[in-house]
């Protein structure tokens, strides 16, 4: 979703006619776009005034969809399924290199879209990596299986593609250090195409040579849905 579409979605939401699927896309865009987020905040302030501190029925319905899609698998776990990792362990595993993102580009493939990440049953899963220079210009990108060259002083950012909601982790293969999520071993992501993740990681001393990065999509029972790897190099 780009900013124009996001603006339209926010207006439709305010008017009470935004579909739940579009709401999920909008949320993903807001995580990465400060100006749209400000627009959202302003409309939400008006909504809050109208609803006397509450949320409009439209917003509550959209959040209900998000909530129930998240808890439904957990409320009826498969027999013998591994339990969810404890939160304390998640916190302890926080990757030190991860900082809150200041910018994540939304890259829409056009004529050269060779993005064919590996998955099951012909579904498209995977991550792309981008190198973003200090001026927020994207200097390079890598598809699954490719190599991203990214110099010190830049940041690396990711987008993912998933045909349905899943748990996602993106980590360095050698050390297990995570790019995503910032806490915990994995985090839920919603279905989407080229959805920008709200984190960026500065390239520092940790990247002295080529390093393989693995993105793993799993279901709530811990089963692997898809894996995608690429290489980072300074």
């Amino acid at each position: 979703m780009n900013c124009e579409a996001a603006r339209g979605a926010m207006e439709r939401q305010f008017a009470g006619e935004l579909a739940p699927e579009a709401h999920a896309e909008l949320r993903a865009h807001l995580e990465t776009c400060p100006s749209c987020r400000e627009f959202y905040e302003r409309l939400a302030r008006v909504d809050a005034a109208l609803e006397r501190g509450g949320l409009s029925e439209q917003r509550l319905e959209a959040l209900e969809g998000r909530l129930l899609s998240r808890v439904a698998p957990a409320s009826a776990p498969a027999a013998g399924a591994p339990s969810k990792p404890k939160r304390a362990a998640w916190v302890a595993a926080l990757a030190a290199v991860v900082v809150l993102a200041v910018a994540v580009p939304l890259w829409r493939a056009t004529r050269d879209d060779t993005f064919t990440p590996r998955g099951q049953g012909g579904e498209t899963w995977g991550v792309r990596a981008f190198c973003v220079a200090a001026g927020k210009q994207v200097t390079a990108e890598a598809l699954p299986g490719g190599t991203l060259r990214c110099a010190q002083g830049s940041t690396v950012q990711f987008t993912y593609t998933a045909p349905r909601g899943a748990l996602l982790s993106i980590a360095l293969e050698s050390t297990g250090q995570r790019f995503f999520p910032s806490e915990g071993a994995q985090a839920e992501v919603e279905a989407g195409t080229d959805v920008a993740l709200p984190l960026s990681t500065p390239i520092g001393e940790w990247l002295k040579g080529p390093q393989r990065v693995t993105a793993r999509f799993t279901d709530s029972a811990g089963g692997t849905l898809a894996e995608s790897t690429l290489t980072l190099t300074p």
Partner: protein
């Protein structure tokens, strides 16, 4: 008043319908409590942002719906208090993780406290601006639209109740409310409340090959 025993049992069993019912019954109240706590500051201050507030709402219910939490809730004490306890823990975790993630130092914490104070003033001014815009918008409405506005946003009636009061179906009322909100949106734009926000964003088009 305690929960109906059948609902409590279905809730404990993780029945999807029961979870949805519980959410619908308590989401509005929890939102108001979180917003009130956000204005009091401390760890809840992050919830002044609508995005953060909505994230928190989903996270708190999500934790309350985890199997262990469902077994712990007794159906007797107010569920909102149970949810607020979860919210408190979530926000403390969030605060700690963010400090860790950005390497927040003491001097930055002072800056943050000052910016929150400045934020209080800014928030209050913006709330006043919105209140004034809504007042003038309401004053310019005709009788029918004004009645709808009052029932929904002054008396705070749910759509179904407001529809009943107006002798309409809920669908008819939703259509009218949709038009009313579009008109409000236009009013906000014309009066510059939304116009100041740029929509340039981070849309990115790859250059070269």
């Amino acid at each position: 008043m305690g929960w109906d025993r059948a609902l409590l049992q279905r809730f404990r069993d993780g029945d999807a319908g029961a979870l949805a019912e519980v959410y619908r019954q308590h989401a509005g109240a929890l939102t108001r409590m979180l917003r009130a706590a956000a204005h009091r500051g401390q760890s809840f201050a992050a919830l002044r942002s609508a995005v953060e507030l909505e994230n928190a709402l989903v996270e708190v219910f999500s934790r309350a719906f985890e199997p262990r939490a469902r077994q712990v809730y007794d159906g007797e004490r107010p569920f909102e208090h149970f949810l607020m306890g979860i919210a408190r823990n979530y926000l403390l975790e969030l605060g700690r993780n963010r400090e860790h993630a950005v390497g927040l130092e003491l001097a930055e914490e002072v800056d943050l406290a000052l910016s929150l104070e400045r934020g209080d003033v800014h928030e209050e001014l913006e709330d006043r601006e919105v209140a004034e815009l809504l007042r003038t918008f309401r004053a310019a409405l005709g009788d029918d639209e004004g009645r709808l506005f009052d029932l929904r946003y002054v008396e705070g009636l749910a759509q179904a109740t407001a529809a009943e009061r107006l002798g309409q179906t809920r669908i008819q009322l939703r259509r009218r409310e949709h038009k009313l909100r579009l008109r409000l949106l236009e009013y906000l734009q014309v009066h510059g409340y939304l116009g100041a926000v740029s929509a340039s964003g981070w849309s990115f088009v790859k250059e070269g090959t």
